[in-house]
């Protein structure tokens, strides 16, 4: 077995035991990147020399007997929406193709503090807007299970590189499903933490009230390990919450006794692919076998969640993306124009179609005369969605259902139909609207060999319990150990 097949936890243990150096681990993953990148196109940048330098630093620290962090020598891929000091951060957009941040995102600082090795920056839908990574202005990332298919999105690169064994773990961001959906479609574990659990400082904002950073991993333990490394309060993000971060890895193997699983009927309605439903129902059965009770719960406002999401998120995006105007950094038009012309040409040239669409939607729903009918109403729906979850969690520990209505679709299949594309987020957006934690774990394959994801949703700040519940299933199944042929 190659070093690149090992999990992060295994790599930490192996290096601590002297079984491999950080340099050897880095070389193994760099080789995997070189090998599979022509097919997957998961990375927008990998600086091999820099990766080797970081690994050498870890090895030097270890030789010198200095204390090492909990991710010592573990390569971590980072979605290109997270700022990296001195390393180009593009958000897979032309408008930022020359942007080099002068600072690290909080999570990148945390990774460095834990002696992780930043392996590279991963491809994504432009500004995290999309569900297939086809909206990247730079390249199209492929699903390692079938390279004619999309990896999901928007964190498609971060999901694909973990599934494709190019990285043991990675960071993505999830605004409406952008971690859980690609995790499901690529057959890996993906976690969206509680809003406020991880600092957003240095995350280029899409929709500030929905965005959260979270881990991709091949198993629950690695996801827990990565989250405990990056979570926690940060004074630079007013919305980050000041409460202690449990050591998730310490308890992840403890089953939850008397587990009650809420099964919302709204997650099993029209549009759900029968193969996906079968796999998810089988997973619920597996839980029952382990002593869990299934509880019927209702999330009556979830049919409105997608619509509310596609108002709130673009509204915030229209304002967040206003700063990309060609004035102070980023792409500026070469055409001669006055001030307004420079703005509109720079933005027109720099932003892709989907980003422009969402900026227009967002601008429209905030405009005077329309704001009450759209934006203000969407906020009301958002409060009702949150209330649905509060009530459901009075009756259960966790809510479960499919992560996505279908397995991975073909490249180009939905790229001309934004509504069809938006529907792939139908089960994931309500979690962001409610601010609760959620994750996707592998729970089977379609007849065609495409991965299927089981979604777990938990009450705010109950990631610890959510990981234990996920691990209960993972420990008796082997979906997560299967490897794509790529």
């Amino acid at each position: 077995m190659s070093l690149a097949d090992k999990t992060a936890a295994e790599l930490v243990a192996l290096q601590a035991a002297g079984g491999a150096s950080a340099a050897e681990v880095a070389d193994a993953f760099l080789a995997a990147v070189r090998d599979r990148e022509p097919k997957l196109r998961a990375f927008v940048s990998v600086d091999e020399a820099e990766v080797k330098r970081q690994a050498a630093t870890v090895d030097a620290k270890r030789r010198a007997g200095q204390p090492l962090g909990r991710l010592a020598g573990v390569p971590v891929a980072v979605k290109d929406v997270l700022c990296t000091r001195g390393v180009r951060t593009t958000c897979s957009s032309k408008i930022l193709d020359n942007f080099v941040p002068p600072y690290d995102a909080h999570v990148v600082e945390r990774l460095k503090a834990e002696d992780a090795v930043i392996l590279g920056k991963t491809n994504m839908d432009e500004f995290a807007m999309g569900s297939s990574t086809e909206n990247s202005a730079l390249q199209t990332t492929r699903n390692p299970w079938d390279t004619d298919r999309i990896p999901g999105g928007s964190s498609g690169g971060s999901a694909a590189c973990v599934a494709g064994r190019q990285a043991p773990v990675s960071l993505g961001t999830d605004t409406g499903g952008s971690i859980r959906q690609p995790a499901a479609l690529c057959g890996v574990v993906g976690v969206k933490p509680t809003y406020g659990r991880v600092s957003r400082y240095g995350l280029v904002a899409f929709a500030s009230s929905l965005d959260q950073i979270g881990p991709f991993a091949r198993d629950v333990t690695d996801a827990a390990l990565l989250l405990e490394a990056v979570a926690g309060h940060d004074r630079r993000d007013s919305t980050s919450v000041d409460r202690p971060v449990p050591v998730y890895t310490r308890t992840v193997n403890d089953p939850v006794a008397g587990l009650r699983i809420g099964v919302p009927k709204e997650f099993f309605g029209e549009g759900l692919d029968p193969e996906v439903e079968t796999a998810v129902r089988a997973a619920l059965k597996e839980y029952e076998k382990r002593g869990a009770t299934l509880v019927d719960v209702s999330l009556p406002h979830s049919p409105y969640a997608l619509a509310a999401y596609y108002i709130v998120a673009p509204a915030e995006a229209s304002s967040n993306l206003a700063r990309f105007d060609g004035m102070h950094y980023g792409h500026r038009t070469k055409q001669k124009a006055d001030l307004i012309g420079t703005y509109s040409k720079s933005r027109g040239e720099g932003f892709g179609k989907e980003v422009q669409r969402r900026i227009m939607i967002g601008t429209y729903v905030l405009s005077s005369g329309y704001k009450d009918a759209y934006y203000v109403k969407a906020l009301k729906v958002r409060r009702l969605v949150k209330k649905d979850y509060d009530e459901a969690f009075e009756r259960c520990d966790v809510v479960m259902g499919p992560t996505t209505p279908t397995a991975a679709f073909r490249i180009g299949e939905k790229s001309d139909d934004p509504l069809a594309m938006y529907l792939s987020d139908v089960y994931t957006v309500s979690c962001n609207l409610a601010g609760i934690p959620g994750m996707s774990i592998p729970c089977g394959f379609t007849a065609g060999g495409l991965p299927i994801g089981l979604q777990l949703l938990a009450p705010p700040f109950e990631e610890e319990k959510m990981f234990r519940i996920a691990r209960m299933y993972e420990s008796v199944t082997d979906w997560h150990t299967r490897r794509p042929g790529v």
Binding site: T89, P102, G202, S238, T239, S319, A322
Partner: protein, 503 residues
Amino acid sequence: MAETYKIVIGLEVHVQLLTKTKLFCGCRNKFGLPPNSATCPVCLGLPGSLPVMNREAFRLALKAALALNCRIASHPGHPPGFTKWDRKNYYYPDLPKNYQISQYDLPFSHDGWLEINVARDPKKEFTPKRIGIIRAHLEEDAGKNTHDESGRGGDTRVDLNRTGTPLLEIVSHPDLNTPEEAITYLEEVRLMLRELGVSDCEMQEGSLRCDANVNIHVPQPDGTHHETPLVEIKNLNSFRAVGRAIKYEAERQYEEFRKDTRGEYRFGKWLKETRGWDDTRGQTEGQRHKEEAADYRYFPDPDLVPVVVSQEQIAAVKAEMGELPQQQRSRLVGQYGLTAYDAGVLTAKGRRTVAYFEAVAAAVGDGKTAANRMSDLIFPALSDRREEIDAFPVPPAGFADFLKKTGPLSKQDRVHLLGHMLDHGADVDRAMEATGIKPQTFDEGTLRAKVAEAVAANPKAVADFKKGKDAAKMSIVGAVMKANRGVPNDVVRRLVDEELAKA
């Protein structure tokens, strides 16, 4: 005679708060630094950066709001003290995020008032008028664009040092009715905010800025009135400019109104117009009609958490607020028997001057004399010496001693003596020694004889006095004082009164 029209003025005042750092980042809040030296990823609006509220800015703003008698975040449907941040979206190169963090529908303070003196002769009387405050809210300042004005089409330069400076916007009701009232209001706001340490309110440096909303009401024979469309005047760079611009604008609007035969102006074809004041040409110039104005698409800033102001916070800020100018003026009048004008002069000079005055008044046991002598002697000396009261070499006790020992002297002598004290760092005794200016010992009988002589020598003055000319009496007092240097003025006056009564 009924007035031709009534001017209606509302003022929007922006003041920069005296914090060490900016409103949402740790950059220095300081005027006059090299361009773009006080900037960081947050105030530059770099992608991924996030704002964090400066608590000190909020505390200062709260202090100002309480001094303006505002209610603190009392909004129906929200918990008491609940306020939030909103984004005001518009594109401009001095605003790197292309939105300004401000407060929209739930300002942290609202519904206050400020009392000003609108007496026709404010030197003699005090006629209070309450000017309503609609709201006072916090927001971040924008940067500064410097355009090439050579006409050669050079680049516009952008300095982002000012970006993110805490600004308090104070919006008054349209309760002001003359240019003088507008200026008085601004002076009162400035005095109060300086006294509270909230802002230095330097219009030259832009730490106080003011826009005026002006229109006129023209009474009609049937008892109703016509209102001209509201005009917002911008680019007002001094209090004087505010007064001039309002006067100009009222007259201009009246002219427009008179010329308007089709009734368009009268019946609100235009909702609101923005005009800029040209101080050199002394006129306002049209900029844009407000109906074409931008739609700012306000919405709550998701990067910041709402603020809930507690009763404890309010109490703590109130406790450290001390006496406000209006309270102080009333107290000075009540406690020391000062005129409203004298009290106003002292208060306008600031808390430290008032403290000096109160120490002197306590020592000499006479507030009126203390106030008059400070006006006669100390204020001119301070202005000659370009000094603040703190640096004045004669402490209150020394000045009280000076007043007690120079009571009988003429004003001229006192000025001379004080001048010597200041120049030589001497106390009053040594100054008297050195200059030879000192009160003369006198015998009242002898002095009365001299007064009688003077009365007898001035029959014309006596006659004038009998006809009711008070000044005539003073000429006799003056003559006696001149001939008998160092005798007490008050005794001479009394004797002159008595001798005139006999004459």
